[in-house]
């Protein structure tokens, strides 16, 4: 056995060119896989971040009826609201890992500039709390956030451009209040933002909570309370804990972590496409391996015949071949992993700017990406792709090896 192993290793060294070329192909497939996995991971992280940072936060406190209505009817009801009173605030603050909480009142409105009307999503917010939950502060391209109690508004730059509005202009929001009666909310534009979240850029108008509440006739009630935690991974656990406590204040209340949001499940739905692309990359790698192994077997018919003539049994020949092929897989795999590690390290440090490459702002296409995409480390991906290439090399060599080993040694030696 040791002899056979040594023979296989010697064969690898003897056919250096073949070993190197096949290893390079395998290494390339491994590298591609790792790079793609890292970038896709980076994009998902970024998509999560844009939704968490601009719309969802980590936890949402909301009444169950509201959550259902929003999800199923795709409407923003002014019923089933909640009161963000001292008691609720205190309970939320005691949450472990709590950073900030912001109430918001969501409503549908028609944004009017005197000539045209556009349906938009209105959000009544408390500017200070909003700033500590969401990452809006540094996204202002013009003007600034309003102060509470002002009759001023903030909206996306793209929405403002579309409606030919600028800072200092007055807008009218036509809304239906709680009773279903038309009302108007008038505000001066205080600031314009441009974020990596296309929804914020194109659809949302932010107003002081008091102004929105008055216009909608909902007293001091709000649609949701958005909570930011220190760590997004603890959201599910925190949600369960907080829910049991807020239910004591108002039993209609429920707490939902960020990954239960529809927008997030939407991102996750793209997972299948990713898997298909991964499969294609791996398939290319597999074909390269199988091809080389088959050719190697054909090329070395004479050698196989010789081995058998020297008294090696079929299974011993097969073992040698399989070992050799697996050796190539391991060499290629290790090279690929090393290259991948270096590339991912570079990607994670410097990132790539697809927008600059394409020469345009890709948020235009609804991709929630602004600036650079940074790679993420996914050790599981490394292990997965390495196991795959080694296993493929192993399996791919078995059949051709059997086929070659099965031949009559005399015929294989004199097959010319």
């Amino acid at each position: 056995m040791l002899f056979l192993t040594r023979l296989a290793l010697k064969n690898l060294a003897r056919h250096r060119n073949r070993t190197v070329i096949t290893s390079i192909i395998i290494a390339f497939a491994v590298l591609m896989y790792i790079l793609y996995d890292s970038l896709i991971g980076g994009m998902s992280e970024m998509s999560y971040a844009t939704i968490i940072d601009y719309e969802a936060g980590h936890l949402q406190v909301v009444t169950e009826e509201y959550w259902q209505a929003e999800k199923e009817e795709e409407e923003l009801p002014l019923e089933h609201l909640l009161t963000f009173d001292d008691r609720l605030q205190k309970e939320i603050r005691q949450l472990e890992g709590f950073l900030a909480a912001a109430p918001e009142l969501n409503f549908l409105a028609r944004l009017n500039n005197g000539v045209d009307e556009l349906p938009v999503l209105g959000k009544g917010i408390d500017p200070e709390a909003f700033g500590s939950v969401f990452a809006m502060q540094n996204q202002f391209v013009e003007g600034s956030m309003f102060a509470p109690g002002e009759s001023r508004a903030v909206m996306g730059k793209r929405l403002a451009d579309l409606m030919e509005l600028g800072v200092g202009d007055y807008i009218t929001l036509l809304v239906k209040d709680k009773e279903g009666t038309f009302n108007t909310i008038e505000a001066e534009i205080a600031g314009l933002v441009h974020t990596s979240n296309p929804n914020v850029n194109q659809n949302i108008v932010y107003l002081p909570l008091a102004l929105a509440g008055k216009g909608l006739n909902v007293d001091e009630q709000v649609s949701k309370v958005i909570i930011r935690l220190e760590n997004k991974e603890t959201a599910a656990k925190s949600a369960a804990g907080l829910e049991s406590r807020v239910k004591k204040i108002d039993n209609r209340l429920a707490v939902y972590p960020w990954h239960e949001l529809e927008a997030i499940t939407f991102i996750d739905a793209a997972e299948l496409e990713k898997q298909v692309i991964f499969a294609i990359i791996l398939l290319i790698g597999a074909i390269a391996i199988i091809n080389t192994v088959i050719l190697a077997a054909l090329e070395r018919m004479g050698e196989i015949g010789m081995m058998k003539a020297l008294g090696l049994q079929n299974k011993e020949v097969v073992f040698t071949f399989v070992l050799e092929s697996t050796g190539i897989g391991i060499i290629g795999g290790i090279a690929g992993i090393l290259l991948g590690t270096v590339s991912v390290a570079l990607l994670a440090k410097f990132g790539v700017d697809f927008g600059a490459m394409a020469g345009m702002d890709i948020t235009t296409f609804g991709l929630p990406i602004i600036g650079k995409i940074y790679g993420v480390w996914n050790p599981a991906g490394f292990v997965r792709v390495f196991s795959f290439v080694v296993l493929t090399s192993l399996l791919a060599s078995i059949l051709p090896a059997y086929w070659a080993a099965d031949k009559d040694p005399v015929k294989t030696i004199y097959h010319r």
């Binding site: 005197g114 009218t172 036509l174 009666t181 009302n183 108007t184």
Partner: protein
Amino acid sequence: MKKRVCLFVCAILISIFATVALSALTAEEIIKRRDANEYFATAQVEAEMVIINGNRRIVKTMTSFAQGDNGLVVFTNPRDRGTKFLKRGDDLWMFFPEAEDLVKISGHMLNQGIMGSDFSYQDVMESNKLIDLYNFELIGEEEINGRPCYILEGTAAEGKEVSYYRRKSWVDKVRFVGLKEEFYARSGRLLKVMNVTKVAEVDGRWYPVESVMEDKLRRNTRTEFIIKAIEFNPQIPAGTFTLENLR
């Protein structure tokens, strides 16, 4: 002396009472008489809608049927031929023949203008009598197009779901038909103005047959609504207001 004063006071009181009794209808009575003219249970209407936006002018013609809470509008101009609206109670559906697609219009979409006009879906969906929706008050008198009118101000009645919180109506003093209507938001902002440009007598009642609606939140836009023919209490075939009929 005492007797004289008493007589004088009596005379004044009587004269005040008499003027009130002779001239003045209460706001409620005025609106009831207006409702009697303008409200109908069943009708069939041939109408034309002219949507004017800046220099753009779009004409749409339609046949509509109304019965109680239900309504059906079928567009007949070449571009929209076959497009239908069906209203059943508080629900509204739209059918597009080219796409063979049935769309339910709900929630916020009801606030949009119908086919780009100044009339919103909501505007045409309110089919109740005005007296049931608003509390009216008589606030003055004025002439509109040479016809003396009462000016009434209506505020949404408690618990009634109406689109416009407040409306001001100019009602013809003789014919009891609305000649002008201003619609306000709860905030007091004027949202829409409707001017009636032609009134005709149909089946013994006065009815506005030509009107112009202006959305006051948008500049340079108005929609003319012209009734070519109207028939009250026609025979409407059973099944007219069904979704099956829409396809």
